[in-house]
Amino acid sequence: MTTREHDASVYEEVQQSSEFQELKNRFRRWTFPMTAAFLVWYLLYVVLSGWARDFMGIKLLGNINVALVFGLLQFVSTFWIAWAYSRHAEKKLDPIADKLRHEVEEKTQ
């Protein structure tokens, strides 16, 4: 089945419901600031790579310098954010989304 034929008012009703608003808020309040954060963190890295080369060249351990550690931290943060998002989605988003989906599909069948 597809819902393209369904009465459009069902969607407006769901959209207005407090449960859906909660789902939307939980989604946006997590993903929007996090997107801003990792973009700023990445741009900081690129900007320092362009303008702070002396700083990037400071050796920390043997030949391992700030630049290498900063770069590796970008990997760590990417892996961490991906993992954290999947946890957030499973715990906070999926249960509401599943419930709403079942409700709408029952209503429109």
Partner: protein
Amino acid sequence: MKSETLATILFLAFVALTLVITFYASRQTKTAADYYAGGRSFSGVQNGLAIGGDYMSAASFLGIAGIIALSGYDGFLYSIGFLVAWLVALLLVAELMRNSGKFTMADVLAFRMSPRPVRTAAGVSTITVSIFYLLAQMVGAGALVGLLLGITSPAGKAWTIVGVGALMIVYVVFGGMKGTTWVQIVKAVLLMTGAALITLLVLGHYGFNLSSLLGDAAAQSGKNGQFLIPGLKYGTEAQGLAGKIDLISLGLALVLGTAGLPHILIRFYTVPTAKDARKSVLWGIGIIGTFYLLTLVLGFGAAALVGGKAIAASDKAGNTAAPLLAKAIGETFLGTTGGTILLALIGAVAFATILAVVAGLTLASSSSFSHDLYAHVFKRGKATEREEVLVARVSAFVIGAVAIGLGILAQGQNVAFLVALAFAVAASGNLPAILYSLFWKRFNTAGATSAIYGGLISALVLVIFSPVVSGSETALFKTAAFDWFPLSNPGIISIPLGFIFGWLGTIMSKEYNAAKYAEIEVRSLTGVGAEKAVDH
């Protein structure tokens, strides 16, 4: 046995295996959902591997290892943009697209807008981005065969391009998304295995001491301390301020382009649910991230064990750094035979890589041609499923043939900039349209077409007047000089322009449909009415 012969045998084995897969896939490809989306029946892990296979092009494997080997740290810097970009896809795009679209990027846009203008714009942009990317890979294949198999005559290179193109056409025309996805999976496993093997040998050679590997790499590169910090390739001190702004511009295009690349976006449709789409991106991030960590060792390893001079002598761009390293490390551990075997292995993997990526691009552009332009624009949504799949197959053939022709014509030209350009166009045109469409209630037809055409045209115009096209030693046209735009990468201007055009177009049009936005918002977040997997 010579390593060229062994590489050819290994590569032919890969071709044979993928052709068998394509044959089986073709027998299961009947409906449009089969052809465009592999029946939506791949698991998250399978699609995650395929995402890696689609994304890790020869440009990232040989190219990044080469940049690291010759310019040190800057190659690593480049790879990080490619990885972080996946967070945009994971957090904002993958699941919502899976829930609200069907086969192409345009499905999401056409959902609540006037379908014909929006699909035309999305189709034009999809085909433009894919052809740029495709052309870069095809020319790369011609160059690579010369380096790896010792074929250096223009005719030999042209035949290689014809061969790669013909195989890619067979995969896509017969195997559709199902066949192409399996080709990506096999390639991803081979590439990861090959890269991991060489990495382990290199690290083993240095007693798993990263610092001594880095020290050796810096010493043998001929660049000393400079080798381990940014600035040898991007935004060099000699280029001054423009060079550094160019670096930021490149970074922006890389990080924002991925989530707008059509051949990546259609991967999200190959799984049964949005949760599987999420899982596949998580796997994709794990695989791609690991791969770039491996290339870091491969690049520095090549600098250390082969040496900057020898690499530059073999290929100015450093594309042979990884194969040369395979040979050197093989000889260190296992003597001449070992060197021959590892070189052959990496050569074969490199070809498998090119083949898989070009197949993914051909599929994306032919899907968009058939589903968006033919079925919805020309036929106004009245094409039958059979017709649509037939047109998709014919257009895959035609696009493949065009790519072969252009690839042969562009042989020997410096077209590496086309990959960065494809990312810039995707970030400037497609990404604003997708994000506005998913998150902005007021967004409408005029906004979507303005974002796509505005972003696409700004990126193209800026590149035409940039130093990569004219006025420099490495430009496409060395003798002409119409390079009034100082940056090689247009992103820093064209990406904001794409967003501004999309906003302006929207507010200047009165069109506004609250009911349709309610529908896409509810559907994208909950998965109500999302397309289901096909049972066979």
